[in-house]
Point group: C2
Chain length 342, copies 2
DNA sequence: ATTAGCACTCATTAAAGGAGAGTGCTAACA
DNA sequence: TGTTAGCACTCTCCTTTAATGAGTGCTAAT
């Protein structure tokens, strides 16, 4: 069966109305609210066709139709119109990003908050990270007789702190020597490239304090192991507003998933490198959010660093608005972060 | 009316049974399950008295009785027996705390997780903080031509990082001088004690780079402004298990409160300096959790540092178990943190 | 002082009966 | 041949009614 113009119009009306009202849409409603110029009976015929094609379905005999996942997919791919952001909304975003921003955390927190606030859904943001972040410098600071502080600075000026145990015999001079040797070696290296070969070379060069040296290596290696950047989540309680989630169990399942940063990273990382990615309902493999949709985008910094951003809402979500918001926010994040980082 | 032995026994039975079953307790149940050696009719008389005294109440005419806030209060103050932790439970705690612990965050996260897991309620932990944390040392590291890294180390070895803008003319030698001057001044000082007087003295001494110096002061001052330590929250979704919270609105209200670290800090900080604090239902001023109870304790380190720990559950919570868990966990935290910090 | 007995209350559950929304189908119409 | 009015049919949702049962307070007997 073909998808003629009128069928498209009917499907569009059903999707729009259902997104709006969360109620199954009947033929009379469509005929009245969306003036297609035909009677409810005609619409009913079209609807029967659309159902046969798998784009809409009936919760029960005497109810209207609701879009199926495939229906939303068709809508998103072929029918959706661009949602324009009002000037007021744009200004609001700018205003919020002109607050004092001190570090990356601030940027992604503001972004996530804005995104959930303006969309009324849940927002997820992963902060920027180097595909492979490289080390720039380490600094060793004595803390007490048996402890030192290791500060690792990456090329992206990402700072990591580690407190290490050292033998009390270690002098400040020793520290200087150790840090100099390390700094000679590691500049421009990814933490994962710190291998045994390098360690052995350093042992050779210094002969002493093997333990200290290996502890430094370990700290650098482990500290950077976590893939991806920091994560910010906002508005997870917005699901309570969605009528399709009036069931305690469902809400709980979703909130439970969102408690895990790993899950969020997975959700976000599964994104195309360019443009928007929209996953609808069952297209999400993750059990528990197959009644949800996710709109994600990747933002890039200098081509080297990237991050992800997304909106999670019910399948019946305002895709147009979500898409626009994600797009704008990705741009804004790239902008703010670039400014912050250099 | 006086509180004779039998009344106490009846009240105890009601509290225990209601905590167990979440159902109003009838006279027949008490007579059968808790062998007081009297008939339901007698118990009914006692219950009428207890109701007159305000310790129990009836949801409706044909239901059993449930404890009132005052009833729980009496129970907690006078009737509650100590809940002994099994050897298995103790071992479990020890085992979890023998995991690799690298920093304070690890300790409070493990603690919070354990506490919510073992109690089936929500747990709140505030990490250790100095009443007034004092500075020990600052380190300045050049990052790029126009940026430096300021590392502030406190007496408790708390590390804070700040990236500051500096004029490109600033040399590494300048940095050494600036940090030396600062370190001479701040050792043992609380960040709040960095005043304009001190700033002026430093200006006098150095004459140049006023802007850099004041930025350092600002960073130190603002960075430490947040009162209290880091906060860890765990098991907030456990409310979904409580039959008294089968209402979406109530759950939402509570989760919303718990989203704010400030609220958690307030809840925890409102604690007696010694021993356990138990706040029951309406005793909590905070709107929204007046159907909840909180069991909190303060743990102390060296008499200088302290932190807070608590369990939040429904008014119908297992106070005995919660109290024991909070007590044990406070000890364990103090232990683990002491080991970690020195 | 305790207890058996009993009438009474009230939440909860199940069953029954509309009301209403929306459909599919048929037949008439342009 | 496509469109539409008309109508019987289905099924959810809401309200009403009735029955059940748990638990009480009171009275009178022990």
């Amino acid at each position: 069966m073909a998808m003629d113009e009128r069928k498209k119009k009917v499907l569009l009306a059903i999707v729009k109305d259902f997104i709006d009202t969360a109620e199954p849409v009947g033929s009379r409603t469509i005929s009245k609210k969306y003036n297609l110029g035909v009677s409810p009976a005609t619409i009913r015929n079209e609807m029967a066709d659309l159902e046969a094609m798998g784009y809409i379905e009936q919760p029960h005999t005497s109810a209207g139709r609701i879009p199926s996942d495939a229906g939303y997919r068709y809508y998103v791919d072929s029918l959706m119109e661009k949602y324009p952001l009002s000037e007021a909304e744009k200004n609001y975003i700018r205003k919020r990003f002109s607050q004092k921003i001190r570090e990356i955390r601030d940027v992604i927190d503001i972004g996530a908050e804005l995104l959930s606030e303006m969309s009324s859904y849940t927002s997820l943001i992963m902060g920027p990270y180097y595909q492979e972040d490289r080390l720039k410098q380490v600094v060793l600071v004595p803390l007490s007789a048996e402890k030192i502080l290791l500060v690792a600075i990456s090329q992206s000026n990402n700072i990591s702190n580690y407190v290490l145990d050292v033998p009390p015999s270690l002098t400040e001079n020793d520290l200087d020597i150790i840090s100099r040797v390390w700094n000679n070696r590691i500049k421009g290296l990814a933490p994962s490239e710190i291998g045994n070969d390098m360690l052995n070379e350093i042992y050779e060069e210094l002969h002493v304090y093997r333990k200290v040296i290996s502890n430094i290596a370990l700290a650098l290696f482990e500290g950077h192991e976590q893939p991806g950047g920091p994560v910010s989540l906002s508005g997870s309680l917005n699901i309570f507003n969605q009528p399709e989630f009036k069931d305690l169990g469902k809400i709980r399942d979703i909130l439970e998933l969102l408690e895990s940063p790993m899950v969020i990273k997975d959700l976000l990382a599964d994104t195309q490198p360019q443009g928007l990615t929209i996953k609808i309902g069952g297209e999400n493999k993750l059990e528990g959010i197959n009644q949800c949709s996710i709109v994600t985008a990747t933002y890039n910094l200098d081509g080297q660093m990237k991050g992800h951003i997304g909106i999670l809402g019910p399948t019946r979500m305002n895709y147009a608005k979500a898409a626009t918001l994600v797009e704008i926010m990705a741009q804004q994040l790239a902008l703010s972060l670039k400014k912050l980082l250099e």
